[in-house]
Symmetry: C2
Subunit: 419 residues, 2 copies
Amino acid sequence: MKPTRRVTIAGGSITPFIGKFHPDFIWKKHPDFGQRENPTLEQLLHRVALGACSDVDIDPAIIDRGYVTNFVGELFSNQGHLGAMTAGAHEGFLHTPFTRLEGACASGGLGIAAAIDAIQAGADLVLVVGAEVQTTRNAKVGADYLARAAHYAKERSIDEFTFPAMFARRTRAYCEKHDVTPAQLAPIVVKAYANANRNPNAHMHAVTMSQEQAANASDANPCFLTNEELNPWLRISDCSQVSDGACGVILASDEGLDKLGSGANRAVQLTSCSVACGPLGAVPDYTRMDVTSAAASRCYGESGWDATDIQIAEVHDCFSITEALICEALGFCDEGEGMQIAADGVTSLEGSLPVNSGGGLMAFGHPVGATGVKQVFEIFRQMNRLCGDYQVANSPTRGLCANMGGDDRTSVVTLMEKS
Amino acid sequence: MKPTRRVTIAGGSITPFIGKFHPDFIWKKHPDFGQRENPTLEQLLHRVALGACSDVDIDPAIIDRGYVTNFVGELFSNQGHLGAMTAGAHEGFLHTPFTRLEGACASGGLGIAAAIDAIQAGADLVLVVGAEVQTTRNAKVGADYLARAAHYAKERSIDEFTFPAMFARRTRAYCEKHDVTPAQLAPIVVKAYANANRNPNAHMHAVTMSQEQAANASDANPCFLTNEELNPWLRISDCSQVSDGACGVILASDEGLDKLGSGANRAVQLTSCSVACGPLGAVPDYTRMDVTSAAASRCYGESGWDATDIQIAEVHDCFSITEALICEALGFCDEGEGMQIAADGVTSLEGSLPVNSGGGLMAFGHPVGATGVKQVFEIFRQMNRLCGDYQVANSPTRGLCANMGGDDRTSVVTLMEKS
């Protein structure tokens, strides 16, 4: 819904997104193994909750509401009840209302939507923190946990790696419909890694990816699905990262902005935010993102904007095909052209519509519950020219985030504007 | 926060709460074992989502928003992303926004609070469905899952049954402070079972409990904790039930009420709703519910009501001591008198302030994510004289729900009024 009380994002905080191949990630062959440990879910939540308050120079006690977004803390960290856990970050949060929201990979976007509602209901300063820890289990166990974003009883068995297989299925359908090949997704992958190489918080900051590497399966970049029909349609480089990380933002009414100690001039308006869902286990067309499209249509209708107004976007590239499909669902290009706009440089840092400027889920990383929060914080940072080496060239004032859960079964689209 | 747009509960739907000792619950010695199965989480969610729409005679397509409340579906049912799963209940829900919320045992109350916000933000008809399935694992595994409502790393080890031990700790502190014995909690337990015996949807509908049985540990009612210090302070009869079940309600603005096909005359206003949290793993005083008290104080302050205005209440009796402590936190009696008001009959069906008229968590049952939704639906039903054999005698027009998560770490207090 379109807010009737104006809502802005006033500031925020983010941790590095870390995991395999990130130099700070502790694993058994790391030189610091046994001497220090990776941050826990609680530490991540507390760090960004306090960091976000600090970024706008406020006492945590004046936060009216908190929302915590996380997918499966109960599994990777044996921990639920994350609202109360986050309330433990600071004594000023005592008796502040905190609520945890979950919508699989769209959890963060749901937190933004809830915070906008809270401001419509009278709150002035709302904290949204998203976090996920996923590296406490091995890849196969982790894939089983993440399959809870699908209809587990019906869809788990498609492959040991349920979600990669579901998006390989989309890649195949897309390639067959539009007469293209998976190799043509390589420019999307290469862009993601190139952007991440400039982003010090990115999981893949230190890993390079060439067109040649991304386009071809190899021993270093295998097709890994055991489902034989789907195996040829997805390589490791087409996948987002299993990352640990967190992001927190402060949303404010105009009265809330007046309470900030600093930084109110950076405020970026959340012009429209829509959530849409579709039934689990029932995707009508693997070549379209119908739920994301429905959410975007509502946002465009409410705001009077259309796709040509968007100058920067964060879209949910959980797999390379997803970036193509979402760009099409959002109207950034026609159907079948989602690969081409990346190949043409339209969506690069120097392009007219930079997409996933920090590296996206594929290379910035994908700590599930943090992702939707990170998206709005990235647009905020780009609009305030805070992105250093990966600052986009086009000085955007209108942006869009598309955060998607499961196989396009929950989608949150948010329009943002800096005046 | 006090709603500025009036919000009412217009209707709803509930399933029986079932589990061990309920005649419809399928287990290996049940005559129907192998021929039918207990309802799945998806079936429960769909049943009450459709049932609630049917109760107010609307097409599901006109629901503006949906909220789904559940604690640990990821563990007992291998299923998250319950918003999208619930959207699958009816084709009219396609592209409707559904969000899952979690705050341990207070999840349901958080759903009510979110729905009130949604109506402040412009929604007219909001569906809240809460459900939990917990009988898919044995009691010890289940206790480990539920310990995720506590600070798992710090508190799990208190006992194999973490939460029973945490409330045995409260019972001990309370009894020592007020010079009473756990046997004096028996009237709370006996009332719960007596009410459930009149309630056809109650888990313990068919199980009787005498003062003698509840007051004394026995082979049939043992002290079961392995923590030796805490063991004497809790018997099985002091505990709420491990139940499967669901409840759904429709919240409406005044414009929403105009859209109902029937039943608008039953509407009960949600006068005030407050959420409060405290840090996990850090209870300041085991003899008080400080977080519940903070939430209640806000509600009383906003509404101008005080405890003497309340004519019926649903309070979160996860253990017998909890009912006593919450009644005190809400101001229904002085500290140390929470047991006595039950013994005196004040809180019985015929009393001046019936508490947990349908049997509460101890005997109606406690399907965790459903409980907070059930509470408001019960007050709605009592105010509309829909409770049959357990209809209260005092024709209440002002009521209160107190839904609590973990060891009083999230609390949602809601005031309700029928004009």
